[in-house]
Amino acid sequence: MRVKLYEKISKLSSPKYYFLLILAITTILLPLALNPFQVHVLVLVYIYAILAESWNIIGGYSGQGSFLNAAFFGIAAYASSLLFILYGISPWIGMFVGAFLSVLLAIGAGYLCFRFGLKGHFFFLASIGITVAIQRAFINWYWPVNGDLIGGAYGVWVPVIKGDSLYHFQFRGKAPYYYIALAILLAELYITYKIQNSKLGYYFTAIRDDEDAAESLGIDTLKYKIVAFAISAALTAPAGTFYAQYFLFIDPFTVLTDMLSIEMVIVAVIGGMGTIFGPVIGAMILRPIMEYVRAFLGARSGLDLIITGLIIIFIATLRPRGFIKWFEDGYNYIAGHLPTIHVGGEKERAHSGS
């Protein structure tokens, strides 16, 4: 036990590991040092990283360009908000209900599409069609509350609770949201890491690279595409509930629009799809640019998205693998130039650990 602990500590003497530790501690302490707007930007970065990460499972690893993820997001947002408003159920439980409904949708839509062999562009278009149909259904769907109608095109306001309440998933400050978003993101990164290094992950990438070859090797491609879709749906859902509780307002035009799916794709591809950290990097690059341009020039100036459009065209043309390579190089460069810390004279060990 003691030896193991010692080995772990001596591992930290290598720059590769202690640099990571510094990054982690900085991430945790950031809300204390930043102003609310900066924390808000970071929360958005995390939301988009979560969305792109979950899209990454179906789009990046399994190679099925899904547009349905906006529907998973919206359904979870609606499920938790409506359960809370109509029955007073905690959004945390609503989050799981939303995830369950999203998974059902993913299995249903996935079975339909993949059973009939939709691939590439056709899966793309079919999933856009389903998303738009769901959005239109929500635009025309109202729920009675105390004699009033909520929902539909008016959207749903989540009732505001006095003070902070973990049970109600509502806080006055931004820091609690920051930590919740961070926790969800880390959990999803861990899940993605586990999937990538499991048999399941190899099945997914095999299907992406050559579906016929995968099928001939005995992989049940229909089953694993649906599995990938369901995992993607389950991972998208928490972001939906989080979004609803963070902004306290949802409507079909913001949480169920196909534009949201496009944004997930953009973030994932800009960072590097089919990689664990790609989507996070994409969100880190894109969101701050957009939010700051919006803050300085107004929300509807269009300039933020002009820049986004240029970045997309740039990435598509010159760097289809995304920004992740540059980040890896940068990380390795910094880690390579930091000194090794020697713990207790165990130089040899420290070096072999790096």
């Binding site: 009939f116 079919a126 259904a137 591809v269 100036s301 043309t317 289809p320």
Partner: protein, 288 residues
């Protein structure tokens, strides 16, 4: 009891709408047929052309029907340049990256319009009047538009079936490598196809500007239906685009009339998904 003239009026409205859809879908079809790229920015070319026609009318008093000579040309040039600079570089990449590049163009064009002209709804405000046939009245701009769109689709059809250039384009769409061996300049064909495709959107845009509002995201109104039509008629098939356009036009107005205007897109999307599932090659689609 619904009156028969009312239904007739609705059906005619559907045909007028459908022929405009047919032209938009033809443009998408040309691009998809020749290079297998779905141009998500197609609606934005409609929007662009509508603005060109609008500004020419407002600033210089040029009738939109005259700007038919200008706006589509601008669309052609932008489309061809985009093809040359961006799509050509990513043709070898996974299909995903090509689509992704057209998203970039979509967002870019939409927001340049947003930046320059703000979110206001504008309208050329021309009134060409209406003509009445019995109890049925038809708005003249819509009639002109739909005839103009049909003529353009017809011209495209003739271009592809009768001219040498059109045949070279078709050869490229059928077998890229063989066409290359036969001395067809593939790279030239590609930018020509992209230009023609976006030009179709440009022509449709000019016509639409005579009777519809314009705003930066107006393209999304038409693009979705254009996807439906392409799939319905069989991708890369002009006849399919024409028939599909007329069908979807009818579906849209009839479902708006009988079920309610808010459900017309849902009906279209359900048809879309059903076609995709059961006959992804479309009504007129062969193998390709």
């Amino acid at each position: 009891m619904v009156e028969i003239t009312l239904i007739l009026q609705v059906i005619i409205g559907g045909l007028l709408l459908g022929s405009i859809y047919a032209l938009i879908a033809s443009g998408l079809d040309v691009i998809y047929g020749v290079m297998e790229v779905i141009n998500f920015a197609h609606g934005e070319f409609i929007m662009l052309s509508m603005y060109v026609s609008y500004w020419l009318f407002v600033l210089y008093g040029i009738d939109p029907l005259i700007s038919l000579a200008i706006a589509p040309l601008i669309c052609f040039i932008i489309g061809a340049i985009f093809q040359k600079l961006v799509i050509e570089r990513v043709l070898g990449a996974p299909i995903f990256i090509q689509t992704f590049a057209t998203f970039g163009l979509l967002i870019l064009l939409q927001n340049i319009a947003m930046f320059l002209w703000k979110e206001d709804f504008r309208s050329t405000g021309i009134s060409y009047g209406t003509i009445a046939v019995g109890d049925i009245s038809i708005s003249i701009p819509r009639l002109i538009s739909s005839i103009g769109c049909l003529v353009t689709v017809g011209a495209l059809y003739v271009f592809f079936s009768k001219t040498k250039l059109g045949m070279a384009l078709r050869a490229t769409s059928e077998k890229r490598d063989v066409a290359k061996l036969m001395g067809v300049n593939i790279s030239y064909m590609y930018w020509l196809a992209f230009g023609i495709g976006t030009m179709c959107a440009g022509v449709a845009g000019v016509f639409i500007s005579t009777f519809y509002y314009l705003y930066p995201t107006v393209g999304s109104v038409f693009i979705l239906m254009a996807f439906v039509i392409c799939v319905l008629g069989g991708t890369g098939n002009l006849l399919g685009a024409l028939v599909g356009g007329l069908i979807i036009g009818e579906v849209e107005v009839l479902s708006a009339f009988f079920i309610g205007p808010q459900w017309k897109e849902v009906v279209a999307m359900i048809i879309f998904v059903i076609i995709l599932l059961f006959k992804p090659s479309g009504l007129f689609g062969g193998r390709k």
